[in-house]
């Protein structure tokens, strides 16, 4: 596993769990003035843009394949 995959893995799976473990409340998202709802909203926004970029990446790869086949 390359090091940056490891960093990605950390930031997506381990970090949130570590943060969630800090919260003792039953309903994590309602904690501290519902600030984690805002975090969730920003994550969805980020994810939406990433999905757009991944789709664009796939289309560009198809074009690259076209070029290579010539």
């Amino acid at each position: 596993m390359k090091p940056y995959y490891l960093i990605l893995f950390w930031s997506f799976f381990i970090l949130p769990q570590w943060v969630f473990a800090q919260a003792e409340s039953h309903d994590f998202l309602r904690n501290t003035g519902k600030i984690y709802v805002v975090v969730g909203v920003v994550l969805i926004l980020f994810l939406g843009i990433i999905i757009y970029l991944v789709r664009l990446e796939r289309k560009i790869r198809k074009i690259e394949n076209l070029l290579n086949n010539e």
Binding site: L29, R30, T32, G33, K34, I35, V37, V38, G40, V41, V42, I44, L45, G48, I49, I51, Y52, L53, L56, K59, I60, I63, L66, L67, E70
Partner: protein, 350 residues
């Protein structure tokens, strides 16, 4: 050094500002909860109050009031338990202002450090049979004693919303950015129909693609926000359903494009469709929700974004957020446009 155009740097800068300011500027102080919720007049009661974002221990000069229309009642004593917890003792007369049977009084807390803050229409007070001739505290009519003001740059504190008022910069702003992007797309559709150059079709469809992504993000973020303010992921709120309809119209645009193989007719039909879709979107999202009840601000008799829902502190982040997300959308659309341009060149060369 990465070579970016000035507006791309501007996008990065604005979005960094929006995320930093949007998360780091604290909320104004406010009252989080109070017990008891309802009391009977003619007795001394102690109200236990939990506050939010306050520094009660930093001040010694506290005052608390109950307020009903022109009348107010001062607290006899205040005990500070912690920075965000206090108890106020009120000697509530049996006779309520203007001989009302029951009232809802606002709770106001005031100190020089936090300024004053309140819970509107909070405490439910019932009148009691005590005769008005019995001497005791009375509701005072007229101006309140001078309250301290704290003019620190902070976002408004709203009940139920609390910190989620920051979603204005993300959920609301992405809708506004989507409209700006759709207007650009509409412009290029007109341009295609008048000039007939395929470049305009590629531009128009790229912008619409980003707008659909933004709209989907808008629905998903709104759904999460609704869960924690209105109680469910999807309410039968008119604005939600009409927006979903508008989104389906735009998704149909994508299906329509994919179904036509001939380049010219695909461009012409989708340009016309895009104009009609925009013409349907405006009444669906802006007009219909105003005609009936809606939970959204600015609809069904709710005040529009304004007043305390969007004060100047929120504006200072909200407007840049719209600009930043619109610029980011422009950037994304432009990448897709360039990809389409290259693909067309390669396909025509083959």
């Amino acid at each position: 050094m990465i070579r970016l155009k000035w507006w791309q740097w501007l996008t990065v800068f604005i979005l960094a500002y929006v995320i930093l300011a949007g998360f780091l500027i604290p909320l104004k102080p406010g009252i989080y909860s109070y017990t008891p919720q309802r009391v009977k007049g003619g007795q001394v009661i102690i109200i236990d109050i939990h506050t939010y974002n306050t520094r009660l221990l930093s001040s010694t000069d506290h005052s608390a009031y109950l307020k009903y229309e022109d009348y107010h009642l001062s607290a006899d004593g205040i005990d500070i338990h912690s920075a965000n917890h206090l108890a106020a003792r009120f000697n509530i007369p049996g006779v309520l202002p203007e001989d009302s049977k029951s009232i809802r009084a606002s709770i106001i807390i005031n100190n020089p450090v936090d300024g004053y803050f309140l819970y509107p229409d909070a405490l439910f007070i019932e009148g009691s049979e005590l005769s008005p001739t019995i001497p005791g505290p009375r509701w005072e009519k007229g101006d309140m004693p001078a309250l301290s003001k704290n003019n620190a740059f902070r976002f408004p504190y709203r009940h139920i919303l609390y910190e989620t008022i920051r979603n204005t910069f993300f959920h609301v702003a992405i809708w506004m950015a989507m409209f700006l992007i759709l207007i650009v797309s509409l412009f290029y559709s007109f341009k295609y129909l008048t000039a007939g150059d395929l470049v305009y079709d590629q531009l128009s469809s790229s912008y619409t693609g980003v707008a659909i992504v933004y709209g989907t993000i808008g629905l998903a973020t709104g759904s999460l926000w609704a869960k924690y303010t209105w109680g469910t992921f999807w309410t039968s709120d008119i604005k939600l359903n009409m927006t979903a309809v508008a989104m389906l119209i735009y998704i149909a645009y994508w299906v329509l494009r994919a179904s036509i193989k001939a380049v010219d007719s695909r461009a012409r039909i989708s340009a016309v469709y895009n104009i009609f879709a925009f013409a349907a979107l405006i009444p669906l999202v802006f007009v219909v929700p105003r005609l009936t009840d809606s939970l959204h601000p600015g609809n069904g008799g709710n005040p529009a974004l304004g007043g305390e829902d969007l004060d100047n502190t929120l504006r200072a982040v909200f407007y840049p957020a719209i600009a930043g997300l619109a610029l980011l959308g422009h950037w994304m659309a432009h990448l897709t446009f360039r990809m389409k341009r290259i693909r067309e060149k390669i396909e025509s060369a083959n």
